[in-house]
Structure formats: C-alpha cells, structure tokens
Amino acid sequence: MIYDIIIIGAGVVGTSIARELSRYQLKIAIVEKEEELAFGVSKSNSGIIHPGTQNSPESLKGKLCVQGNKLIRKISRELGVDFKEVGELIVAFNEEDISLLEKLEDDGKKLGVPRLKIVNQAWLQKHEPNLSKTAVAALYAPTAGIVSPYRLAYDLAENAVQNNVKIYTNSPVTHIKQLETERDSQAPFEITTPNGTLNARYVINSAGLFADEISRLVGIDNFKIHPRKGEEFILDKKREHITNHLLFPLPSKTSKGILVIKTSDGNPMIGPTAQDVDSKEDLSTSDEGLKKVLDGVRRMIPSISENDIIAYFAGLRPSAGDDFIIRHEDKVPGFINVAGIQSPGLTAAPAIALMVCDILKSAGLKLKKRKIFHSHRKKTIHLFASSLRKIKNFIKKDSSYGDIVCRCEMVSRKEIEDAIARGATTLDGIKFRTRAQAGRCHGGFCTTRILKILSENLKKAPTEITKNGAGSEIVAQERDHA
C-alpha cells in the first residue's frame, strides 16, 4: 500500500497537520521515533498561545501566529481542549522603555493583533497586584491564552485517528528513498524505520530537533537545526493566582525573556532560559539556570520563592535562523520541510497546517473532502478541573472516578485507565495526559499504583513498564520469591 502522505514527527506541528489533512480523502500516516507522541520538543513547550506580538511584521512567524491564535479557539472547542484566554502583559520598568512598548504595539497592529493597548502603573497595580511596584507600564495583549501543549497534541492525534490517520510510534526514520517516477504521478518515497518500510507520495518533515537530519536523508541540506535550551521551573498549585496574566519582560534579540506563565494545569511556571547547546539530547537543568530564572521573575513578581518550586525540566527549541522554514523542496518533488518551528510554533501550528495544505495543493495533490469528517471528540474528563457536583455525577456513572490514585493532583483510577485506552503506555505518558505524578510529592505515593495499573491494562510485566520508552524501565527486577 502507498500512503498519500507520511508525516515525520508527532509533535504539535505534525499532529496539527495530520488532523487538518484528515478532512480529505487521503491515506495518511505519522511516524514518530519516540514511544509516545509529543515526547520531543512539544513536551517542554510553555503552553502559551501568543497573540502575535514580539514578531517582525514581515515574518512568517508573525503572520502564522496571529492566524493560529484565532484558529486554536475553534479547534479547542471541537476537540475539548481547555483553552483559556488570560491575556499577557509585556512589562516596562522605566520611562524610556515605554517607547519600546509603543514599537511592539505598532508591530503588533501591523500584523493584525487585536485589542492591543498600553496600560499605566495604576492599571497594573489594580489588575496585577503582585507585580513589582517598579513596573511603570505594560503592553496589554488580551488575546493571549494558554493550553496544555501535550494534551493538545494528544487530542489532535486522537481526532486524526478517528478520521483514519495511522500512527507508528517507536519508528525513527533511517532512510528515505524516492523511487522511480511513475508516469503522470508523483514519484513515491520509500521510508525506512527499524520496523520496516512505508511508502508515500508526499512526505512532510516536521521532525522538530531532527528536521535537518531528516531533510538530509533526501539530499536537502540547506538549513541546520541549532538546539537552544530552555530551563523551566514549575510552582506549587497553591500559587495558582500569583498572577492574573502571562507576564513578559521586554524581549531581547534571541528570546522573549524569562516569564511568569500561567498554565492550564493551574501551576504557575517560571522560565525559560535561552542557551545554545551542542547536543540535541541535552535536557539537563543547572544551578545557574535556576538562579537566572529566579532573578528574572523576581524583578516582576518579587514574592516568588524558591520554596514554591515543585518541579523543573529543560526543553530544546529547534532553532533554524530567524524564521520558520515551511516550503516544498522543488529539488525533491513531494518533499515538504516544516522546520525551525520554535516559539510561537504552538500557536502557529493550526495555521502551519493550513499552509501545508496549500503547499500540497500547489504541488499537485488533489484535496477532496471526506464524506464524513469527525470534527469533534469527547472532552477528556479531569477531576481536578471539575466541580464537586460534576465529580459526583462522574462517580455515579463509574465508581472508579472515586478511586483516587494521585492525591496531590486528584487523579482517579478511571482517568488513568482512560489515558491508557487513549494511547498512554508509559509513566510520562500518564503524567502528561492526567497530571498524576506531576504534583508536589512527584509520584512518591502514586508511582507504584500507576505502574501496576499500566502493567494490568497493557498486559505487560511490571519490569517492562518504562518512564518514557525502552531503556527507561522503572524497576530492575521482581524479587525472587523462591
């Protein structure tokens, strides 16, 4: 069988493209090298739906970000993703910097960012009471919002699968060969993974940090991905209301700065750092990173304490120059690069998907709508996001909603079993989907129970259960009971 399209990489970009293309009568597959989806760049995304500010008016980033900010709302409604429009403030600390805010406002307006305004100190003290009294003004972008980046990717993928998209995990692509051209049709590609070969007429490379390496497999070597590390620190849910908005300092050339981020899980997050690193696998955190982040955010919110931090992680931005690379590679007809998708990639993802559809059309692919497209999926139930009245009803329908596994984040056995039914196979997969193990005790109490639930549901030995794929088994062996 020949797929019409194979998408390499199941992050938020790959899954957005897959879901958009699944509206059409096409045979589509996603190949992903990791054990689960969104385990690459997307898992450490900050979850911010940017309004479009802090981008140059001429950039693809800016255009797609503004468009994506609008599109994400409909997608969230259709897929039951929790999108919250919380608004953002880009804060200035001295009078001279107000002109920089005005420049950002102008750039934003050129891009079509709605309802931007500069707010003064009195406004800030009223609407953001924990903000440092030294803040003099801010650019307020009310259309900024938050989502859970991995839950968005999972929900997009799940909906794509409802519409017949096939997903291959644990399938790193090792070779891509374009076969001899058949008459009057797109020459198909042969894609090799350790699990075998797949054929497709079009290949979309959304392989994140490894997009340059994938591109080189077809002989296109015109960009390089530079990993840029960001360390982020998650605060206790008790501090959920430490800010009312996303808080940004004025941006620098290379990054949007150290932020105070609201998340759709409730826990505030602070960071990220921005540091160019050599390795695409360097996910280590450092004392220097912590210090930099604390110094940075305390300038905005002086009351943030080191003791509020319950977890931290590092992610790598797949940077490939100033702008996104989204193009058909004419030298290899049928091969489309979607690379260098760093911030605001999450926001832009739905717009990137539309752009890829247009590119495919131009490259000769016929996009004919399916007769039946399942545009909606049932919203995933999370007790932590539900009222007591609702929880009572859930328990009435299924008693295992009352069987709490993770006590810090209030996650029930039913939610964990649902996550497994929807594709989670690892402890991290459970964590990203349900928040179990993500709270203040960090899995100290619930890891054993989740391990057993995974083992029972997947019919695997507990020793085979991993944190995030082969090699990350949790326990070394079962004790010898002989």
Partner: protein, 325 residues
C-alpha cells in the same frame, strides 16, 4: 450531609492512637478516614525492627506495631473506619469532602483531628542539577517497591541524604542483592539515629560521605552516573574535589514535609517554612476544635512518640466536645 462528633483523617499510628484515646475519654461517634486499603500507614512498609520499645515495651517491626493498634481500634464498635477514602476538601467549619470508590460524601465534624503524616522531600526541592531519567526514587517509594510490591528498583545505588529512611534502605537494598555504592550527606553528621548508621551502613561497609553533595545526575533514559563534590562550611562546592560514581539508581532521602495542604485550605495559620500549623500547644491549631497530631503536627523520630502524643490529641478532642455541649 453526614454528621460526626469526631472525624480523624489518617489511619496510621497517629490517627489510630487519637481515635482510641478519644473513645477512652467518652467520644462515641468517631469516623477514621484512611486513603489506603489498610490501616497502619507507612508502618506497613517499615518491615525492619526497632519500633515499640517505649510504647509497647517490646521490639517490633513496623507491621507488628501497626497490627497491635489495628486490633485495638477494630475492637471498638463506636469507631467507624472508612478505607480507600480521600479527603479532597476541608473548610473552616470542619466540613470534609471525601472521595471513595463509588461515592463523593460531605461530612460535618464537630471536632476534627488531622493525622495525615508526611511526604518526602523530592530531588526537585533540593535542586540537584542534571537530567531526569528513570531510576530516581524517593527512599520511601523504593521501600514500598521492595517491601510491599516485591520489585527491586535498581542494582547499583547511590543514596542522597543520611536520614533514617535512607540508611534503612541502604541495608535493605544490600540484603536484596543490590550494590549500594555510597550514601552522600551534605551536612557534617547524619540526621538519622546513630544505631541506624552503625547497623545499616557500617555493618555492611557502605561508605558514607559527610560534607558532600551530588552535583549532577547523568543519564538519558536511565540513571548512568552521578558527580559528587565536597562542600565547605557554607555548603559551597570545593573545586577539584569532584568524583564520579557509576550507578543506575539514585535514592533521595533528604527529609520529610508535613502533609498539611488540607488544613491550609481550611485557613489554619501555617508556618511557611516547616509546613506545620503555627501553634502554642501540642496538637492545637488556630481553628478551635481542629487538631493536628503525629508527623503532620511536627516531624518525629520515633513512631512510639507519635502514638504517645497522638493519644493526647484524642483527649483534647474529647475535652473540646465536652465543653462544647
């Protein structure tokens, strides 16, 4: 809404002693809420001896100690016990919201004793730099994996922190065939009992490095090695003193934090630093009739002391109820 004279949250040694003594002092309508499927709390996973010398005048293992209390509490019909039950919400006027398989209940307590114990400090709270692969466990989780679930968490182990749980786990892992390569303690001395340093480390020739810390954890999928460095009196790294230990497992035993999020939610005045209620008298809080006992009131060294002081909480609650009516 259900109404109870006394609700006790937590069925470990503290909660059980409080319930038994509240009953002894005249309270007849008592509910004990326990999240696990057994009473006994963390004692159930502490299968080593060393419990009970003060309280029961004999040396017991954790489960034996728990069993004595369980038999006692089970013999009192006026004490109702609700297992696998989680309190998810608590208000100032002592209304509890409880989730359990098949039910969400709200309960109004005239008096309330919180005996919710502790959680372990995590690697994240002491900021150990490096990666986050599989193989990093809190010592208590490793203890549960071995003693309750029957899994060996790893084979080459470095333990951070020489608190009692860390020391006991060093011995436990050695007996299970793992190689404990070192215990790393940032302070000048162990926070654990001396008998544990002797019986759990010295007797097994396990090296204990005082004034040292782990400066980096390596490993992509599973822990591969750690860097260890000496620290000076101000806990700053001494450069040139670094060395590396190959290991597949890091156990973190760096202290306990009272699990008091529920009373904080109810508005009890808290000491932010210790996560304990601010209090002038044993077991009391800023809300009258709301008592806290055992490790959630303050972190104890011995279960025996927990039982002893929690009996007092039972009496205090009984007295509160008497004065109230």
């Amino acid at each position: 809404m259900l109404k109870k004279d006394l609700v006790i949250v937590g069925g470990g040694p503290a909660g059980m002693a409080a319930a038994i003594y509240a009953h002894k002092n005249g309270v007849k309508n008592i509910l004990v809420i326990e999240r696990d499927k057994h009473l006994g709390g963390i004692l159930n996973q502490c299968i080593h001896p060393g419990f009970g010398l003060e309280y029961f005048k004999e040396i017991l293992t954790g489960p034996e100690y728990a069993q004595k209390a369980i038999e006692k509490i089970r013999s009192i019909p006026e004490i109702e016990i609700s297992l696998r039950s989680f309190v998810v919400r608590l208000t100032q006027n002592k209304i509890l919201t409880v989730l359990k398989p098949g039910a969400l209940e709200q309960i109004k307590a005239k008096a309330l004793i919180m005996a919710t114990g502790c959680r372990e400090k995590t690697r994240e709270m002491v900021h150990i730099p490096g990666t986050r692969p599989a193989g990093i466990f809190s010592a208590g989780l490793a203890q549960k994996l071995i003693n309750i679930e029957g899994f060996l968490p790893g084979k080459k182990v470095v333990i951070v922190g020489s608190g009692d749980i860390g020391l006991i786990m060093a011995r436990r892992l050695t007996l299970e065939g793992a190689e404990v390569k070192a215990v790393i303690e940032i302070q000048k001395e162990s926070r654990g009992l001396i008998r544990n340093v002797v019986q759990c480390l010295n007797d097994f020739d396990i090296p204990l490095y005082y004034n040292h810390k782990i400066s980096h954890i390596y490993g992509k999928k599973r822990v591969e090695k750690v860097d260890v460095v000496k620290v000076d009196d101000h806990l700053n790294s001494v450069s040139g003193s670094e060395f590396t230990i190959d290991c597949d497992t890091v156990l973190v035993s760096v202290g306990l934090i009272p699990e008091n999020e529920l009373i904080e939610m109810a508005g009890v005045a808290m000491d932010k630093k210790t996560n304990c209620p601010t209090s002038s008298e044993l077991n009391t809080t800023s809300i009258s009739g709301l008592f806290v006992c055992g490790n959630s009131f303050k972190v104890y060294d011995l279960a025996d002391s927990v039982s002893r002081d929690s009996e007092i909480a039972g009496k205090q609650a009984a007295e509160y109820l008497r004065n109230r009516s």
